[in-house]
Symmetry: C2
Subunit: 338 residues, 2 copies
């Protein structure tokens, strides 16, 4: 009897020793539980299996497993307008008492009068004016602090949820699944790089050095022995459309093997990914669920998906139908369901 226990004990020890602690391409159970069974889910799982199994013809070496994700509309919602722009509007209202001159200049007047139609009509130039006024003239640390406070308190007008809670549960699972199988997940978004980095690590598990976005110019200063990087009111780079593959090259220097987007702004990035040498995964998230989220594509001013949809259909890229492919949209639905 004593020997039996001893034998079992040794056996247990041996088992615990032979188990690989760092075996990243083994997944227990369903890696994408918030996805309904169907071709979209299957395509993602097949891609991972084919490219990470060492005997596979489509095997991708670990260092080349770069996956890029658009943010607005791909990892979180973007309606009724980009959340970063809602932040800018909130900031204008907050800062207005210190800026009496805004009462006489458009599009500030429109913002302060809550006249969103006029704000939208001010076009790209108007939006940039509002963004510059709220995203510059301070150190990077001060800006981070302001965004952090907003992201932890501001609530969405339709859902009443914090904006940071309006991330897509099925995409969080894709991020986790890809990382667990040795992929490096990057954000490549038109959103501001300093804005996004405040939340990406906590919300998506994506560290700042893997977040690429639009950015303004900066100034490095040494004042009274203190060093500071100050945000200047001047755009340096817009990370959208053809800018996305360029930014990928500049920041990463490798071509991605998979790309997820939701609009025509992501088309160049998906094309660039597809044109790579090996197996690639190109995915469009199609907003089709007007009940649980929003439904929009070819005619939308925000997140327009028109040319991209044609190209995806033509080339057989994955088009995720949010309504039928996703069991849940937001993380809070999971706990409601339990």
């Amino acid at each position: 009897m004593k020997n039996l226990f001893l034998g079992l004990f040794i056996f247990a020890l041996l088992c615990s020793c032979t188990q690989q602690p760092d075996q990243k391409n083994v997944q227990q159970g369903d890696p994408l539980p918030s996805w309904n069974e169907g071709p979209s889910k299957q395509a993602i799982i097949n891609f991972v299996k084919e490219t990470t199994y060492s005997g596979s013809e489509s095997f991708i070496p670990a260092k080349e497993r770069i996956v890029v994700f658009d943010n607005d509309g791909t990892l979180w919602s973007e309606q009724p307008m980009y959340f970063q722009f809602i932040f800018a509007i909130d900031r204008i209202k907050q800062m207005a008492p210190q800026h009496p001159e805004w009462n006489e200049i458009q599009p500030f007047i429109a913002v302060l009068e809550n006249n969103m139609e006029t704000v939208k009509k001010s076009g790209i130039e108007g939006l940039l004016t509002l963004t510059m006024a709220t995203h510059s003239g301070m150190s990077i640390e001060e800006f981070e602090k302001i965004v952090k406070e907003w992201i932890n308190t501001a609530r969405h007008p339709k859902t009443g949820k914090l904006y940071r809670e309006m991330v897509f549960q099925p995409m969080l699972e894709v991020l986790d699944y890809l990382r667990a199988t040795g992929f490096k997940t990057y954000i490549v978004s038109g959103g501001g790089i300093d804005f996004m980095r405040v939340l990406t690590e906590e919300v998506y598990g994506i560290p700042p050095e893997q977040v690429i976005g639009s950015y303004g110019k900066y100034k490095f200063e040494v004042k009274d022995g203190l060093t500071e990087i100050v945000k200047l009111p001047e755009i340096d780079f817009i990370d959208d459309k053809e800018g996305k593959p360029i930014a990928i090259h500049r920041f990463i220097g490798r071509r991605p093997v998979a790309a997820f987007g939701n609009s025509d702004g992501d088309l160049a990035m998906l094309k660039w990914t597809e044109a790579g040498a090996g197996t690639g995964l190109m995915v469009y998230i199609h907003h089709t669920d007007s009940d649980r989220e929003w439904a929009y594509d070819r005619e939308s001013h925000i997140g327009r998906l028109d040319k991209g949809l044609d190209e995806a259909n033509e080339k057989g890229w994955i088009v995720v139908d949010m309504k039928s492919d996703w069991k849940y949209i937001y993380p809070h639905e999971l706990s409601m369901d339990k």
Copy 2:
């Protein structure tokens, strides 16, 4: 006797199990064998020990262990001029038959006549002209191929070695040591990002996504269904002086905890690193060995170390004396010594 063996067997199993397989902060033997004993070597080892030991007051969480290295003069030699510039000169000569107009424009005439004094006198503008002429007008893949061929064949006029062999053995050991203890090593250099990335992974073990440098503008094109990123003859960003902390912020989004440089061009980066919250390591490589490498500092046109040397002395940063601190300079000396 049988029980004794069994006991020893279980003991051995237990030992092998309790040993952490991923324990990155355990180093066997001397991690910096090409460094002579002294304050420089000791400071680097102390920094690593203090910041990676989990009970330490100066402990730095793994994700914040960002270390930045200048390239020219810090990781490899930079005399008689930057190696990338020698590449540009070689390319001008190679491309000259296709550019008869160069026979009538400076500084091309000077290059083709091997008149390096006139080339140097053409100043920054002249150097940029030569760089643009050789670093643009082709796809990123074509450029990579050209640099790869050069880096694997071109030899240094003084040493007769391939330029890629003129990397500093003691710095290769620092890179390995830091990575083995969980630090993420980045290059932050005035050199061209596309030029450096051709060699950094193979030579330094630094992947492209951890290489930051100067860069030009790019154009994304779709021609006959083929996608291409083309290098344009226009500078976008110079990663030098105050540009370095700005590039670090833009690309990494975290402040480094250690920085290695060799010239005044690295001073802003070292200051930015020093001003971080926790324990920092600021290191200047001082070129003091005219026999084995070169000796230059305050008066040099290339890699001038003047203000930086004053600041380092004032603040007690580490100033590595190449002559006395380094047992070997280049890797090939190691094999000669065996």
